[in-house]
Each structure stands twice: as structure tokens, then as C-alpha cells.
Subunit: 236 residues, 2 copies
């Protein structure tokens, strides 16, 4: 059966969509999605997404590794920033992580009333597509954006996901088409096109250029990251 | 001097942008923009944009022609709907018009704190570009969207306007690029691409297919439509 797929281009617009009965795929390409997938693939036991630095520090006291950023930079007192490259097995293996970021973790928490919440990234896109195809639930792709602005990288990924879902989905709303058109135009030069996006330029300026290519690499990890009992865990 | 140009993809996001000192170009391609430009080009003396049917009926009592739609259809008791094709010289000539639409008139009224407010449509794009190039003010293109959703046709026009402004402007934010990429991909098949957009399908369904090509025709009228003293008038 063909499933409807919608694209919400910014968390500011989330109130326009019903979450009931849907799988929400939260997308924060630069970089929370990649950090979550990498940490779980490299052995982190679970990831708690929180909205504030204070909450993260509370979890840190209870044994979680505190990870996250404000303005792209690691928060003072945290164990890790929001760079997926820091989430090596010897750092995150067998440990719970608490993560707070400017956009991604807020979007995850805003989606909790959905039937299921998955994290979408290029690093696990094939595993994600396999999971989405195996379910009968309609899908809402939620682009985390940047401080409520629409951004290019999350819109690009929404388009890539719709393309990969192919005939299994119906994605004929305007925002879905906008995402698909962007992806189809730049599928062969994603990194060079997105290097010039607002947030990529911000990350390059503060020394995280290497993260860009990493966040856009495909299918590094055959796992899904799903919210279960309020925390994100690896599935599959 | 190069002027910054920003694109606000939906009125829901307008609060993210400063209006101070800027020219706001309000864009509602299907169909308020075209209706306003056509009515003024065909002799309407001025157009008052209002948000509610009740306000429009009040102005009607004071001698204005009442025009507008709800759900795309003409409102009961109004003289006109929101079809630009109805705004012929014998209907609108020498008369003031009051207009209320689902999206466009709300966006015009939400922009009133800007330095200037212009209406943007394909019908007057060259005149608009000439005016924008002659000013030194930064520009905010406000896409009226559909009930706060981002739509394809207004985003397409934002891209067309940025393309026409060319080297006179700096439009390097993500939303500007998204608009420009869409326009560049479909500049040669705008009508066939937009025929399948959400609102075009709605208009076709209720009998307004002819309006689509009309709203996308270029440079039918060499005028600008500017808000002056709270009403929209023809300039140039």
C-alpha cells in the first residue's frame, strides 16, 4: 500500500501537521542526526535528547556523557560537542549519552506524540528506508532547520528520502516537491552545493569542515535510531 | 551598491525577519498578486486589503467594489471573486476595490511596519525589478503561501525575482537559494510544473484553470503596486 509522506520544512510549522498515528523522521543533517547515528553505532547504550544545558548537566551527574552545542560549539562542562567524529567507540562505547543541540533535540522532543520517532541521516538512509517501507504508517519528515529557519541540508535529505522511498510513497504536497526538486538537481554534487549553505559556512568558520563530508556520507551504519521510552536507541 | 535580498517562505516565519527600513515584496501568485496588478492596470483607483469578510462588506457599503475569496471561491455578497480575469476595465475602472483573500491580503497587512510594501507578480516583474534596483533599501520577499504552508508558486516567483535582480543583489541565505534553485530548474516549464502544485489543483477543481496561465504571464503591465497611506495604488 502506498503511504503518504509529508515534509515539514521547519519546526515552526509543526503545528500545521497532525502527528497522530504517524512515524516522524527527525532530520538535522548538520549535525545532530549524524552524531546520534554514529554514537549508537559505536556502542552508546542510549541517547537522551534534552532541550537545555541545565537538563544535560543533570543527566551528566547521573552518569551520562554530556554532548551538545550552542552556536555550533561544545558547551562548557560537557564531555563532547556535537561533532559525530568525536563519537568514537572508546569514548561512547557502553555509555549513555545526553545530547542537547540548537535544533535537532528540540525537534525530537516536539515529536513525542507521534506513533514512532526515528532519526534520519545520510549515514543510515538505507536502513531507514527499509524500516519505513516495512511499516504501514504514514510518514512525516520533520526538518529541524536552524532556529526555525528552513535550511538547505535538511530539505535536501527530505528529498533524498522521498526519492529512495520511490513508488512506496505518495509525496505530492508542495513542500515534498520542493525537497525532491532540490535533491534531484543536486544529487550528484551534494557536498559542493551544501558547503555553501548557511550552517555549513558557520561550521567551516569554527573549524568543523571535516564534519560536512562525514555527515553526508551514505550508509556508513546499517542501524536505525528510534525513540523508545523517551530515549533514542539503536534498532536493527 | 549590492542590496541584501531575503526570502520569507511563509507568513508564519515573518517574525524571524526584521522589517525595519526594508522594502517588502508580497507574493501571492495564485492569485491575489495578479488580481491587484490587473485591477490597478485596468483603472481601479486604489485597493484596500482587509483580513475579514466583515471589513470588506463595510467598505462595500462606502462605495468600494468588494472582491475576494474563501477556499478559492467568491464570497457571498461580494461584487467579484479573486480571479484577475474578472477585473476588466468596465468592471473596475475608476472604482476603489476592497480585497480579502485567504493568504495574500493577510501578508500585505502583516508587512505594514516596513519602509515600503510592493506587490510582486509575474504580470509586472520587470517594472518591479526596475523599482527595486532604483532603491537602496534591502529587500524582503514575503511569500504568502497557503494557510501558513510553504507553496511552490510563491517560492518560484521569489527565485525568478532574485534571478532578475542579478548582480544588484546578494541573496545567499538558504531560503533564497532554495527559491533560486527551483526557478532555475523550471524556468522553461513553469506552467506545466506549477499546474500540479497544491493550489493550482484546487483552482482547476473549482473551475479556474484559465487563471493559472494568466497569473504566470510576464510583463503584461508596466506598473508597480505600492501600499501608500494604507491602500494599494498604481505607481509608474
Amino acid at each position: 500500500m502506498k503511504k503518504p509522506v509529508e515534509v515539514c520544512l521547519s519546526p515552526l510549522s509543526l503545528g500545521l501537521y497532525s502527528l497522530s498515528g504517524k512515524i516522524v523522521v527527525v532530520v538535522d543533517i548538520f549535525r545532530a542526526s549524524a552524531t546520534i547515528i554514529t554514537a549508537l553505532a559505536n556502542g552508546a547504550t542510549k541517547i537522551k535528547a534534552v532541550s537545555t544545558v541545565e537538563e544535560a548537566l543533570d543527566f551528566q551527574k547521573r552518569g551520562y556523557l554530556a554532548a551538545g552545542e550552542r552556536g555550533g560549539r561544545k558547551v562548557e562542562g560537557f564531555d563532547l560537542g556535537n561533532s559525530p567524529l568525536d563519537c568514537t567507540p572508546n569514548v561512547v562505547g557502553q555509555k549513555p549519552v545526553v545530547l542537547t543541540t540548537t535544533n535537532g533535540t528540540r525537534s525530537i522532543n516536539a515529536s513525542m506524540s507521534a506513533k514512532a520517532v526515528a532519526v534520519g541521516s545520510f549515514l543510515n538512509i538505507s536502513a531507514l528506508v527499509h524500516y519505513l517501507k516495512s511499516s504501514e504508517c504514514p510518514i512525516l519528515i520533520l526538518c529541524a532547520g536552524w532556529k526555525d529557519f528552513v535550511n538547505l541540508e535538511d530539505t535536501m535529505f527530505a528529498g533524498a528520502l522521498i526519492e529512495e522511498l520511490g513508488d512506496d510513497c505518495i509525496a505530492d504536497s508542495d513542500s515534498s516537491k520542493l525537497a525532491l526538486e532540490l535533491y534531484r538537481k543536486h544529487r550528484n554534487d551534494i557536498l559542493s552545493f551544501l558547503r555553501d549553505s548557511d550552517h555549513a559556512r558557520r561550521l567551516i568558520r569554527i573549524g568543523y569542515e571535516k564534519d560536512l563530508a562525514y555527515c553526508l556520507s551514505r550508509d556508513s551504519f546499517p542501524i536505525n535510531a528510534m525513540v523508545i521510552d523517551g530515549e533514542i536507541v539503536a534498532v536493527g
